[in-house]
């Protein structure tokens, strides 16, 4: 599922499209901020994500129940007492939901973060160094890119002794970076040829510093958007894994809720409140992330502002 990412082209050109003949704005940052605040895609998406993030943090405090505790009449529909109803065992679905949300955000941040770091490292090094290093990294990237991520994850997860949210995130991170690496490599390639990088190189600044000091800041918007996409992708990938039953062996997650709902015949018994909230939350979170991404694209890429 982590491959479900928009293609490279939804990312902006990092070079910052020259505004035709317009003199340099007073400050690029304030311009971005200005547009960011006026971009409904960005703030609507942001609000939705924020809403769920806050729910994940505050939610567990709103409920008195344990995640697995039997607290109510089994299989009861949503009510004032149990907002999202109860499972066939009488566990509170809302409690499971808010805990699951937390797990999703952890997987997203961690998995997306790891993928972003690996992708950036590979992309920067390959794009900047070029030559044989690039060749080797490129082959590596291509290999991981073509391998069907989920199949790889299944194989790994199936053999894993103990699975936690963190391990899951790590493996998702380690398998979902290639497209990011590819995109960043291409951007680095074009930046590396620019004068200011040349200058730095001539004055003997070490590679690591050039990458971190000259190249990365010049494509920071691009990197941020890459991370957002990886974030959403990791959440989806984790949900899929959990659903197959290869998720964390302890704890709760949104995918696991759906898995349990299916295992315990929620569909056949008509307990829709058990499986609707987790999937809907995932779709809303990830969808909003993608939506934010488009908004950011428009903010960073003036050509798209007026269409």
């Amino acid at each position: 599922m982590s491959d479900t990412l928009p293609r490279d082209t939804t990312l902006p050109a990092a070079e910052g499209v020259p505004a035709p003949a317009a003199p340099a704005p007073r400050s690029r940052r304030s311009e971005f901020l200005y547009f960011a605040l006026r971009n409904p895609k960005l703030w609507i998406g942001g609000l939705v994500v924020l809403f769920f993030a806050v729910t994940a943090v505050v939610g567990p405090r709103l409920t008195d129940y344990g995640v697995q505790e039997y607290v109510g009449p089994p299989a009861s529909p949503p009510s004032a007492e149990h907002w999202f109803g109860t499972t066939t065992f009488g566990q509170d679905v809302f409690t499971q939901f808010v805990h699951g949300l937390g797990a999703s955000f952890i997987v997203g941040l961690l998995g997306g973060g790891i993928a972003a770091i690996v992708g950036m490292t590979v992309g920067f090094v390959a794009g900047y160094r070029g030559g044989i290093v690039d060749e080797v990294l490129n082959v590596m990237t291509n290999i991981v890119l073509v391998l069907p991520t989920l199949a790889v994850l299944i194989i790994i997860a199936a053999y894993l002794e103990v699975r936690g949210v963190v391990t899951e995130a790590v493996f998702i991170g380690l398998t979902s970076w290639p497209w990011a690496a590819r995109a960043i490599r291409a951007q680095t390639f074009s930046l590396a040829a620019r004068d200011f990088v040349d200058l730095a190189r001539l004055t003997g600044v070490p590679t690591r510093k050039i990458i971190l000091g000259e190249i990365a800041p010049n494509m920071s918007s691009y990197l941020f958007m890459t991370f957002i996409l990886l974030f959403g992708g990791a959440i989806l990938a984790a949900a899929t894994l959990d659903f197959i039953g290869l998720g964390p062996t302890d704890g709760m997650s949104l995918g696991l809720m759906m898995n349990n709902a299916v295992l315990w015949s929620a569909l056949q018994l008509g307990l829709w409140w058990w499986f609707v909230p987790p999937g809907l939350a995932i779709a809303l979170i990830v969808g909003s992330l993608y939506f934010m991404n488009v908004g950011l694209d428009e903010v960073f890429n003036p050509r798209l502002r007026t269409t």
Binding site: L147, A158, L236, Y290
Partner: protein
């Protein structure tokens, strides 16, 4: 041309090699002994445990040195032998895969091709209509972000459970025996529809959005501006943009394959559709590493072949690649 394909093929070859090697290594260096769990399943008597274990170790080729096991693995693989399933012993893994493959392909191929076609069409339309664009964009992003299994659950709940329009599970009715009658084909299609629709809808959102974004970039491209400057009608410019935007979508098809396959796996699980996804789940549940390996290799090989086919198609439709390879560029 030869160089281009040579390069592509060698990457695919290398990928396959890595996949096979990793695949071979994992069960041998991970905890859990498939032979042991199989023997545990087969006997209750302690005195038969040892002979059985010896027997099956020999049967599965564990009684030779590691390097030889590896070579044997390749040898068997090249003859299309993926080993024997532990779960469905003694059925060959290939036979299990071939048994479920038609169902998965029957879902995947139409879902991928149709969603690609319809999504691109729709995305292009959305890109030129501001109202449609504004309405569709959020919906489209929501669709691509929808977990396949959730959509499957919701569709099943609404259309099969609530309104009873479609069967809830399976590939065909229990009282029917496969044959070419209309009754059977109709029954087959009814069972096929919901899983297909799940895959189609999610993928459709992705393609439509991809096309919408792509075409906006193309409409801003230099050649579009030039055509505008020459007073060419919008229709012509859109036509060019659509066509050019399709090219990256073809590449996208290759990149998305893995994701759609993953979607098919979980969708099949929801609908108990007896395809590869269902087999994968069972292999996981039954700790059938050989079957799992087989399915994995099969999917990898399938994706690689599909990638290569897409490469070929791409070369056929994009003059840039084609001519670039022939070195005719001045």
């Amino acid at each position: 041309m030869r160089r281009y394909f040579g390069r592509k093929l060698s990457i695919y070859g290398l990928t396959f090699f890595v996949a096979v090697t990793v695949n071979w290594m994992i069960p041998r260096f991970m905890p859990g002994d498939p032979i042991e769990s199989m023997v545990a399943r087969l006997t209750m008597r302690p005195e038969t445990v040892e002979p059985m274990r010896e027997y099956f170790e020999r049967f599965f080729g564990y009684d030779v040195p590691l390097w030889k096991q590896y070579l044997n693995f390749w040898g068997a693989l090249l003859q299309g032998d993926l080993g024997t399933s532990v779960w469905l012993f003694p059925r060959p893994v290939t036979s299990v895969i071939m048994g479920s493959l038609p169902y998965t392909l029957g879902l995947l191929l139409p879902a991928i091709l149709l969603s690609w076609w319809a999504g691109n069409k729709f995305g292009a339309i959305a890109a030129r209509n501001r109202w449609l664009d504004n309405t569709f964009l959020p919906v489209g992003y929501l669709l691509t972000a929808t977990p396949y299994m959730w959509l499957a659950l919701v569709l099943a709940f609404l259309l099969a459970w609530q309104f009873d329009l479609f069967p809830l599970a399976g590939a065909y009715s229990v009282t029917l025996r496969p044959n070419w009658s209309w009754t059977f084909v109709w029954d087959l299609l009814r069972h096929w529809f919901l899983p297909f629709a799940t895959l189609f809808i999610v993928a459709f959102g992705g393609w439509a959005i991809g096309m919408r974004n792509m075409i906006i970039y193309e409409l801003e491209a230099d050649y579009s501006r030039y055509l505008e400057s020459l007073g060419a009608p919008r229709r012509l410019i859109r036509r060019y943009s659509f066509r050019n935007a399709l090219l990256p979508q073809i590449t996208g098809l290759a990149l998305q394959l893995g994701a759609v396959v993953a979607g098919a796996l979980v969708t099949e699980i929801v609908f108990s559709y007896p395809g590869l996804g269902w087999v994968t789940l069972k292999a996981v549940e039954n700790l059938d590493f050989y079957l799992l390996q087989g399915v994995f290799l099969f999917i990898v090989a399938g994706v690689l072949v599909a990638n290569f086919l897409i490469d070929v198609v791409y070369v056929l439709v994009d003059p840039r690649t084609r001519l670039g390879m022939q070195g005719r560029a001045a």
